[in-house]
Amino acid sequence: MKIDPSELDFPILHDGINTDHFVCNKKPDSHRLQYFFRKHAMDNQNQKLSVTWVAVKKDCPTEPLGYFSLACASIKADDLLEQEREGLPPYPAYPALLIGKFAVHDKCHNHGVGTAMMEYVFGLTIRLSEKFGCKYLIVESKPTVTWFYENKKRNFVRAVELEGGNVLFYKNTLTFFQ
């Protein structure tokens, strides 16, 4: 059953969120996302390494349905497609917002939570890029979920395959203003 995005809220992770209730271990390697959320997300936030935003239902604001962690980053010019580099000043790298982690509770798969979370990330990217230089939104995807980022709605651009098999995707921030 789809969840209407208007039913969701996206607070920054805080002590009132029941992180231990977040379950994500159905798919290969996804238990790492569960472990990060339960054990490291708050520490990383306190250390200013990343900030974790949580998807909750407005009528149940302590129960996490999904989360994403964001951090400042950059993307190397060499990792952009050649046509993307055309017209850019020849810097070695460009400022970016990194989606470090992105996960949905196992009980919420195919309920629209991931789509709503990503559109909230897009919204945050828009706001950020209005205040600070942020040329790209980037993510390192596991090979098993590249379909999510290449979906026409998200439409990330596949950049390069990284060591270990992950794939680097990027999205030009200007596309949000079209």
Partner: protein, 50 residues
């Protein structure tokens, strides 16, 4: 992580022309669904206070 801004770079000739045509076609990958998603994201962004 690489430093994203190299302030010692001076743009001349072809590079300068390319810089000024910088946003000539950043949208070549976009489609109707991604444009709709961007539109929804702008509505979301308007409600976010940073």
């Amino acid at each position: 992580m690489a430093e994203p801004f190299n302030t010692s770079i001076e743009l001349h000739g072809e590079d300068a022309r390319r810089f000024h045509e910088y946003d000539q076609d950043p949208f070549k990958f976009e489609n109707a669904q991604s444009r709709d998603a961007a539109k929804r994201a702008r509505v979301i962004a308007a409600k976010i206070r940073l």
